[in-house]
């Protein structure tokens, strides 16, 4: 059993409520930070912990905090990114729904470190019922002296507000999120200036993911160095993985990043194996934007090493033979699934979510969707596959924000690893509407080329 730092108490009855959460040891990190540490010391602990942003990009959280500009007399803001809209990802929801106080606790400590007296949770509009849960937790924390003026006699004032979005994946991108929080369309900004210098209402701002901020609680309680001992290499601490698709036990799991992908899929402690006794065909391990891998490359790297559930191992081989940890949205496809169709739904998603500011993204996502639909229906030509490849290459790197890349990568990886499945659709236009290509050779052991 791996160590649980975030979800350990998730199943305690009524843990949603302050009294129970407090009785179970909650809010100790606020006491420790506000009574015994200065703000910079808190940032220092987070740096030592090696905590990497859990929203997808994996940027070191402590470093981000230390970049925050601190001009005299200008307010600074912490904004928690609870927009969670990357297909396959539903871990932040789980945390907020079942352990709202761990987020509030982490936010108070982080706000203290950053000097934010008003902090915000930007939550996706569809998580409507969770707004009530969070507001209740905030109210309870305030009633117990953990929010408001002069918290625990430290002289530090802090309030937390929940801001509900209204349906737009792009608002998960931090500058779009800031625009949206200012009451505008979610159009990403050109960087620089970075939010750390000029964020919401032109003030220095830190945007962090829900899980990142929640992880600050165990880091302060146990110390950054202790936290860094869990995990491996630059993958410190624990990571929440939301697992879905064709598995026996979909759900949210906390892992300590030392287990293998195979163990994660097949062990009863986690996904419990592929559903209905089917065989594994492919997996997108880090949310819809990261490259899909066929079963063989998923379980072993191109060098023949066991692939592990951590940042480094998942990206081993780069985009040629690896993938990414991303947001931890783990999507499993069994032998009956069609990669062309699945990729089509993702292309449709990105077309729907493109904000439309940059032509490569706006036009390219539409083209990719059309071509993939055509191919899926058996109406495509061989040249469509090359055209698709060409379009995704023209998007990547040519846009204001990374949504363009995020739309290009799944298409690129699908063609890279499943080209014969695409070709089969072209060659068998009628058959492909009746049945799927199946497992083919995607689980066959790979020949390892020894360097």
């Amino acid at each position: 059993m791996g160590r649980k730092l975030l979800l350990e108490k998730a199943h305690v009855e009524n843990i949603r409520h302050f009294d129970v959460y407090r009785r179970e040891g909650g809010y100790r990190s606020v006491e420790k930070a506000l009574k015994t540490m200065n703000p910079d010391a808190v940032t220092e602990e987070v740096k030592k912990s090696g905590l990497r942003g859990r929203g997808g990009a994996g940027f070191p959280a402590g470093m981000k905090w230390s970049f925050l500009a601190k001009p005299e007399g200008v307010p600074r803001y912490l904004v928690v990114n609870a927009d969670e809209s990357e297909p396959g990802t539903f871990k932040d929801r789980y945390l907020m729904e079942f352990l709202p106080h761990i987020l509030i606790e982490g936010m108070i400590v982080a706000s203290y470190a950053l000097g934010s007296n008003r902090s915000y949770i930007y939550i996706r509009g569809e998580y409507w019922w969770i707004v009530d849960i969070l507001e209740q937790a905030i109210e309870e924390a305030r009633n117990n002296g953990f929010l408001g003026k002069n918290i625990l006699g430290s002289g530090f004032d802090c309030d937390i507000f929940v801001h509900r979005g209204a349906g737009a994946y792009i608002c998960g991108e931090e500058t779009a999120l800031i625009e949206s929080l200012e009451g505008k369309r979610g159009n990403p900004r050109i960087k620089p200036p970075f939010p750390a210098i000029k964020g919401v209402w032109d003030c220095p701002t830190v945007v962090n993911n829900v899980e990142t901020i929640s992880a600050v609680v165990p880091i302060i309680n146990e110390g950054g160095e202790e936290y860094a001992k869990i995990g491996v290499g630059k993958s410190t601490g624990t990571k929440l993985i939301s697992a879905c698709g064709n598995i026996n036990k979909p759900g949210v799991y906390e892992i300590d990043m030392t287990i293998s992908v195979e163990e994660f899929i097949y062990s009863d402690e986690y996904c419990g194996g592929v559903a209905n006794g089917k065989r594994l065909k492919a997996c997108i391990p880090g949310g819809s934007s990261v490259p899909i891998l066929p079963a063989n490359l998923l379980l072993k790297t191109a060098k023949g090493e066991t692939r592990m559930m951590n940042y480094e191992s998942l990206s081993d081989g780069g985009f040629a033979t690896g993938t990414m940890m991303g947001s931890g949205g783990f999507i499993v496809l069994d032998e009956d699934q069609c990669v062309v169709k699945h990729t089509y739904t993702l292309a449709r998603f990105y077309r729907h979510e493109s904000c439309g500011q940059c032509s490569p993204c706006r036009e390219g996502t539409g083209w990719m969707e059309k071509l993939l639909l055509r191919l899926d229906r058996g109406q495509g030509k061989m040249s469509d596959i090359d055209l698709l490849w060409d379009i995704q290459r023209k998007i990547e790197g040519n846009t204001i924000c990374p949504l363009g890349d995020a739309a290009a990568w799944p298409v690129a990886a699908a063609i890279r690893h499943f080209r014969d499945e695409f070709e089969w659709h072209v060659l068998n236009p009628e058959e492909c509407t009746r049945r799927n290509y199946g497992l083919a050779h995607y689980a066959d052991p790979l020949e390892v080329t020894v360097a």
Binding site: P75, E84, S85, E86, P87, G88, T89, F90, D92, R93, R118, R124, G125, E126, Y127, W128, W129, F161, H163, R164, G165, A166, G167, A168, Y169, S180, L181, E182, G183, K184, R185, G186, W201, S242, A243, C244, G245, N246, P250, G251, V252, I284, S288, G329, I331, L333, Q337, K341, H342, T345, L346, R348, F349, H352, E353, C355
Partner: protein
């Protein structure tokens, strides 16, 4: 005349107070949510103009926002909206069958509303419930692990609730 009740106006004031002085434009999304709920489930132009006047911003600033976000309805919708997720993870867990089933049962296609104004069927993209697929949003809550039987129950429940509220 479009006008929030006194209690809703208090709520609007509370929403504005979440943001720093002079930044009441930030309240536009939350206030639009409130307006959509209060004024029939969608945002007609006079409703958006009213929101603009409440926040002392121009109407165009409200239209820009209302047209960007998918949760704001710019046309009338049914009393109950079934927003079924169709993205990859839900698709491989049987979302297409559920969408077909609801469509046949209600006699409508995605994007349409039943003639009695009761139900709207809409397909949406990932709602963050991929592990509990197939699923849909209905108002404030999610309905997960959908099966045809579950859909039948939900439709019956809606009809019963509507009948007892009329």
């Amino acid at each position: 005349m479009i006008q929030f009740s006194d209690s809703k106006l208090k709520e609007v004031e509370k929403i504005i107070a979440r943001y720093p002085q002079g930044k009441q434009k930030s309240a536009v999304i939350p206030v639009l949510h409130l307006a959509q709920q209060e004024f029939g489930g969608w945002l007609d132009v006079p409703v958006m103009d009213y929101v603009a006047s409440l926040l002392s911003i121009t109407p165009i600033e409200v239209y820009e926002v209302a047209t960007f976000y998918s949760m704001f309805n710019l046309k009338p919708v049914g009393r109950y909206m079934f927003e079924v997720c169709q993205t990859g993870p839900c698709m491989i867990s049987g979302a297409d069958n559920i969408i077909d089933y609801i469509g046949k049962k209600l006699g409508i296609k995605p994007g349409e509303t039943t003639s009695d104004g009761m139900f709207t069927l809409k397909t949406v993209e990932c709602l963050g419930a991929c592990g509990y697929a197939p699923m849909m949003q209905m108002g404030k809550h999610y309905k997960e692990h959908l099966t045809p039987q579950r859909v039948d129950e939900i439709v019956d429940e809606c009809r019963r609730n509507a009948a007892s509220n009329n």
